[in-house]
């Protein structure tokens, strides 16, 4: 009975040993993986900060203005003059068109008299 117990305990110890070793190695691997990812994040954050700085630089009026000046002639660019500003309120209302009553009357009269002006147009052409 003692013998079986001993064998069992030795077996358990061996198993534990192997288990702990495996765990240690897997933890080491995870740790190095973590370090690798951290390095990558660090590098990418560095790159990101450079790109952000680049983007900020490219968006500066101080950077854009010289480009505008360089292409001023080719593109016909000019600062807007005061007279070129307008608002909807400053547009005049559309004038109300008065129907030409005289011409309409003439049309109705000629139709009543049996003369179709469109037919005449087609015929003359």
């Amino acid at each position: 009975m003692i013998r079986t117990l001993n064998i069992l305990m030795v077996g358990t110890s061996l198993l534990g040993l192997v288990g702990v070793y495996a765990l240690k190695y897997s933890v080491e691997e995870t740790a190095s993986e973590k370090a690798r990812i951290e390095r990558q994040i660090d590098r990418q954050e560095g790159e990101l900060s450079l790109l952000q700085a680049d983007w900020a630089y490219l968006n500066q009026p101080a950077h854009i203005a010289p480009i505008v000046v360089r292409h001023q002639e080719a593109l016909g660019l000019e600062p807007a003059r005061q007279e070129q500003f307008g608002s909807l309120a400053s547009l005049p209302m559309r004038p109300i068109e008065q129907p030409d009553t005289g011409a309409l009357d003439a049309l109705f009269e000629s139709l009543e008299a049996g003369v179709d002006p469109i037919e005449q147009l087609i015929e003359t052409n």
Partner: protein, 574 residues
């Protein structure tokens, strides 16, 4: 039992059972002793490990502090004015370097500008950490890394980068190599809370939320461009300008020339035309005799007191005599002038008479009310005390009425001008974003809304008929108005008639003012034969061009209808 019986002695003097019992006890003792030793060793090692102090400092400074970052600075529209970039820095651990000569040679192949003897001294010895070169480019880092020298390593530092370059230099200030603010808003932020965060190691990575300033970079650019232009156009030695939002006190733009590159803070100490210390912020830390622009202040105070009416007239036929001195007018009309004419023709005599009718002590008290006795409460650390005499004698009060014999900063003047057009409510300027509701809580009335309406009329009148016509020509349609000031500079204790400091204070759109501006051009000369040297020709024109470009961006659209100007005229004068 089996194990014990095997190891027992063959001859037993004692009883077998007793002998076996003694032996077992002895063995247990040995085992306990062995275990105790093992545990003692473990405990000892633990204590040893616990007492080891890891040196986390880099040349006496905390590593966290060196890699600490600063919050990004944005303008009011979210455009970056200052950002952090991560850059590698090279350090060496001399005690781990095997061959110093080889390391020196290899490093100099990448960075030939490093001094050989300096580098050799640096890398020799038993030190644990020395900087070799801070803030390398990624390409340099790659090449040094590929050299494979043992004992060299990199640490990533945060470096401040100002994408707008010189344009906002005086606002932003600068940081030193350890990323601590040494000037401008950077220094102010450190005084606030960034330094604390950094010292407890919190300010790392992108954890700090960005700071929004009140500056509009577009307007800042226009003001910068126009002031740079003014230096060549009028051959001026210096120029400065500030624009305030009159309702909130926010600084929209602030430029002072000559300036420096915040990316290279040492440029702030470079001499200009052989003269040292010229690159200071003239808006906050420069104090000047602002000349006739001060008449706005005299008239505002006089009208607000009720002792002077807008309909009053003043005899400006003869100069005012003080003992040996006679003060006369520059553009003398030499007749009886109405109060708006005093302003329009910038009459020294009329202004002195106005001030005398009001009383010199009232005048002095009004300057205190406007805060001209002390610095403007403002965030930038570069400030200087104004120089206003404690008590006014008759003659000092007379010269002060038209802006001589007392010096204030342009920011004082901008703050006062903003208050005069903003229904008389003064608010301290700020460089941080501030809402109108927040500003209203800080409002301090300095003149009545009624007097404010008079001032708007007078400022617009001066643009239409007075010395501001050059400004109004450029800024036509934007209902701008203001006052010129041409102050003779003091050279060797005397006023020099050749060298002027020209000022233009303005506000727009005057029927409902939003922005106030002060522009200074120092020692301007004639642009051409036809033009003059007084402020209207240079500071005024610069103001006009800035308004013309910036007003549409700020949401002020041009309006040419004459009813607006007519509506500004006070009822008494219609």
């Amino acid at each position: 039992m089996a194990i014990i019986s095997e190891g027992s002695a063959p001859i037993a003097l004692d009883g077998g059972r007793k002998a076996r019992g003694n032996l077992t006890k002895a063995r247990i003792r040995w085992v306990i002793a062995a275990l105790a030793i093992v545990f003692a060793v473990v405990a000892g090692k633990l204590i040893q490990l616990g007492t080891v102090v890891v040196d986390s400092t880099i040349e006496g400074r905390e590593r966290d502090l060196i890699t600490a970052s600063r919050p990004a600075i944005l303008d009011r529209n979210g455009l970056e004015m200052a950002v952090d970039i991560r850059v590698p820095s090279l350090f060496a651990e001399p005690r781990r370097i095997i061959d110093v000569d080889e390391a020196v040679e290899a490093l100099r192949s990448v960075m030939p500008d490093l001094d050989e003897t300096w580098l050799r001294n640096r890398l020799s010895g038993e030190k644990g950490f020395v900087w070799v070169r801070r803030e390398l480019s990624p390409a340099q880092q790659e090449r040094i890394f590929n050299l494979g020298i043992p004992g060299l390593d990199f640490v990533t530092e945060s470096k401040r980068f100002y994408p707008s370059g010189e344009e906002a230099s005086h606002i932003l200030g600068a940081v030193n190599i350890d990323n601590q603010g040494i000037a401008g808003i950077e220094k102010h932020m450190d005084g606030e809370d960034v330094a604390l965060l950094q010292s407890i190691g919190l300010a790392r990575g992108n954890e700090l939320s960005p700071v929004n300033l009140s500056i509009d970079l577009r307007v800042q650019h226009i003001m910068y461009e126009q002031l740079v232009d003014s230096l060549t156009r009028y051959k001026a030695v210096a120029a400065a300008g500030v624009m305030l939002d009159v309702r909130t006190g926010e600084v929209i733009a602030m430029v002072s020339l000559p300036d420096f590159d915040p990316n290279e803070p040492m440029t702030a100490f470079e001499p200009v035309n052989g003269k040292k210390d010229q690159r200071f912020n003239r808006v906050t830390s420069g104090i000047f005799e602002l000349g006739s622009t001060f008449k706005t202040i005299t008239l505002a105070g006089a009208l607000d007191s009720g002792l002077v009416k807008i309909t009053d007239t003043f005899d400006a036929r003869f100069g005012v005599r003080f003992g040996r001195f006679t003060i006369d007018d520059f553009h003398g009309k030499h007749r009886v002038l109405s109060l708006p004419e005093v302003y329009k023709y910038s009459s020294n005599i009329g202004t002195i008479k106005t001030m005398q009718q009001w009383g010199k002590d009232n005048f002095r008290a009004f300057l205190t009310k406007l805060g001209f006795d002390k610095r403007v409460p403002f965030e930038l650390p570069e400030m200087r005390n104004p120089n206003v005499p404690e008590k006014f004698s008759e003659i000092v009060a007379a010269t002060a009425a038209f802006g001589h014999g007392l010096s204030i900063s342009p920011l004082h003047m901008a703050m006062a001008t903003a208050a005069f057009v903003n229904d008389g409510y003064m608010v301290a300027p700020t460089i941080y974003k501030r809402s109108e509701a927040e500003a209203k809580a800080l409002y301090r009335p300095v003149i009545s809304p009624h007097t404010s309406a008079y001032m708007r009329y007078l400022m617009r009148l001066n643009a239409l008929e007075g010395s501001g016509t050059h400004m109004d020509k450029a800024a036509a349609g934007f209902r701008a108005g203001g006052k010129t000031g041409t102050a003779e500079k003091v050279v060797n204790g005397r006023y020099s008639s050749g060298l002027n400091l020209n000022v233009f204070t303005s506000a727009f759109p005057l029927e409902d003012p939003r922005y106030a501006m002060v522009i200074i051009v120092d020692e301007p000369q004639r642009e051409n034969e036809q033009s003059g040297v007084t402020a209207g020709w240079n500071a005024g024109e610069v103001t006009g061009r800035i308004i013309q470009r910036a007003a549409p961006m700020l949401g002020v659209s041009p309006d040419f209808s004459e009813t607006i100007d007519a509506s500004l005229v006070p009822v008494e004068l219609r």
